[in-house]
């Protein structure tokens, strides 16, 4: 039996054990707190497509009255639908690529404009002037004839 009688290694070992248990306690306290803070899982999954709350004919009528319908909810993001003079319909994710404000269609200026920092996009969603770094995300548009003769607008994610 030749056990070391030097108290220093034993003291160091005890110190390491103490430090280890303090670290373990702190981890045990913070782990549930961090998990609690983390956002809970969304209960509604994102939609793949949505029907616009207006038909092509209604959109035309509103433009004629000088109104521009605001963006609507598609997959929890604002969706902007615009009707071009030639009858073509385009849809974009209305979140500005600069710092995520919601853009608006300006029929008189024939552009898409962001009020927050004066970002201007053309009607293809390409940035023209101001701070936006990338084009707006475009959506696919389908039309479906309704029994009453009007056409509804169906927006879906591309690809």
């Amino acid at each position: 039996m030749s056990l070391s009688t030097d108290p220093v290694p034993r003291r160091r070992c005890l110190l390491r054990l103490l430090q280890g248990s303090i670290a373990a306690s702190i981890a045990a306290i913070f782990y549930p707190v961090v998990r609690f803070l983390w956002p809970r899982r969304a209960t509604v999954s994102g939609a793949a497509e949505v029907t616009a709350p207006f038909t092509v004919e209604e959109l035309k009528a509103r433009y004629a009255r000088g109104e521009v319908p605001p963006p609507f909810n598609f997959d929890n993001k604002p969706c902007l639908v615009i009707l071009l003079p030639d009858g073509e319909i385009r849809a974009f994710n209305a979140i500005c690529t600069h710092v995520a404000c919601t853009v608006a269609f300006r029929p008189d200026k024939k552009d898409i404009f962001c009020n927050c920092h004066n970002g201007v996009y053309d009607l293809n969603g390409q940035p023209v002037s101001g701070p936006p770094p990338r084009p707006l995300q475009a959506y696919k548009v389908n039309r479906r004839r309704l029994p009453n003769g009007q056409e509804e607008i169906i927006v879906s994610r591309t690809a």
């Binding site: 549930p32 609690f36 803070l37 983390w38």
Partner: protein, 408 residues
């Protein structure tokens, strides 16, 4: 702490590095370190009582942290309150743990505060010049009871709804101003969504701010006057400065922290084994649920309310009970001024007998509230009074057991 403490344990050695010098020049750390070194805690046979204040402070810290966490998911409206608490219990990860710890810690905190009050009385720590420490302490106790009462409504379940209805109705029993107290507390004649918003604001804004302010005064007074030492200990040691003591930092603080660590473990165990119930959503037009009763720390008043006849001395039941407990509370508040022999270290037998009776009555009435004892009011008064007389006789008959040899 049965071992004999060193007469003067060496204070902590603070690291005085270049960083320390840099910070000290800007923040005055040396002055703080000096304060910490100076603070000492007397060591005698009731030193263990000194841990209760620190324990209450620790549990209050737990309440702040878990309360802030709960507020991240809680929605104070009658349409959403119950659902949001249900989501905390079922959807949010570890939400059940945070909420259960908040509820259990609240109950432990009130229990510790009751003990803190009792041990402070036993040590006669309220005597000159610490009267305001006693009074601010009682104000804090009242505030924590208000915390418990207001927090109880927030989950908007059937129990909470009726507890609030009954509790505010009793407050309405205060003579003369009762009607206005009730309207103010409920924000209307009934318990509605406005009551919930009011209790929420009280629970998370008004009471925390007020509590921190009063707590600051309480702690300042404790620092200013130092720990109170029981008179028999001072007499035995032959002077206050000859009572053995240990430095607060780190000796006492480390012992404090051991207690806190155990408390945290206990809270985790309680929360895991007995997660707090949610019950069913409040229905303002439903009947009161069966076996409804308040939290244990209000049970003694609840039981007294139940036992008291419908009319007492021309007063209605709730008016008489409210008046009685207001009177008792006032007497407790005035203890430092009622104990007129305190400074000379003279006897306080009358006060001690009444205090013993009060504690016995608290225990008996809590038993009645829990349904363990089937007593009428007269039985309760007699039983608690009898117990107090028995304890007093025991104290006179067995001085050694009662620890009176200190008086030699």
């Amino acid at each position: 702490m049965s071992h004999a403490p060193p007469e003067r344990a060496s204070p902590i050695v603070w690291p005085r590095s270049r960083w320390w010098a840099f910070l000290d020049e800007r923040l005055g750390l040396d002055a703080l370190a000096h304060l910490a070194e100076k603070k000492r805690v007397p060591v005698h046979r009731t030193t263990v009582f000194y841990f209760l204040g620190g324990m209450a402070l620790f549990l209050f810290g737990i309440q702040i942290i878990t309360g802030v966490l709960l507020s991240l998911y809680y929605k104070p409206s009658p349409d959403q309150a119950f659902e949001s608490v249900r989501a905390i219990m079922t959807e949010v990860e570890f939400g059940w743990l945070i909420r259960s710890i908040h509820s259990w810690s609240a109950n432990l905190l009130i229990g510790i505060l009751y003990l803190h009050l009792l041990t402070t009385y036993i040590m006669r720590a309220y005597r000159r010049p610490r009267e305001f420490t006693w009074i601010t302490g009682l104000v804090l106790l009242a505030m924590f009871l208000a915390f418990g009462f207001s927090g109880y409504l927030l989950p908007w379940n059937q129990l909470a709804f009726f507890a609030t209805k009954v509790g505010t109705d009793i407050a309405g029993g205060v003579p003369l101003v009762g009607k206005y107290v009730l309207l103010l507390a409920r924000s209307g004649e009934e318990v509605t969504g406005d009551t919930l918003a009011r209790f929420y604001s009280l629970h998370v804004v008004i009471l925390p701010l007020a509590t921190l302010a009063v707590l600051a005064v309480h702690l300042y007074l404790v620092q200013k006057h130092g720990m109170s030492i029981p008179q028999p200990v001072i007499r035995q040691c032959g002077g206050e400065d000859r009572v053995p003591s240990i430095p607060f930092v780190p000796h006492f603080l480390l012992r404090d922290m051991v207690g806190w660590y155990v408390a945290l473990g206990l809270l985790a165990v309680l929360a895991a084994l007995f997660p707090w119930e949610l019950g069913v959503k409040a229905d303002p037009f439903g009947s009161a649920p069966e076996a409804i009763r308040p939290e244990w720390y209000f049970l003694f008043m609840f039981a007294t309310l139940e036992q008291t006849p419908s009319h007492v001395l021309g007063l209605e039941n709730k008016q008489a009970v409210v008046l009685f407990f207001t009177f008792v509370g006032l007497m407790v508040l005035l203890v430092p001024f009622l104990d007129r022999n305190a400074e000379r270290g003279g006897s306080r037998r009358v006060l001690n007998f009444l205090a013993t009776w009060a504690v016995c009555a608290f225990i008996v009435q809590t038993g009645v509230g829990l349904g363990l004892l089937d007593f009428r009011l007269t039985t309760s008064v007699a039983a608690s009074g009898g117990a107090a007389v028995a304890l007093a006789l025991g104290y006179l008959a067995f001085p050694r057991v009662a620890g009176r040899e200190y008086r030699s």
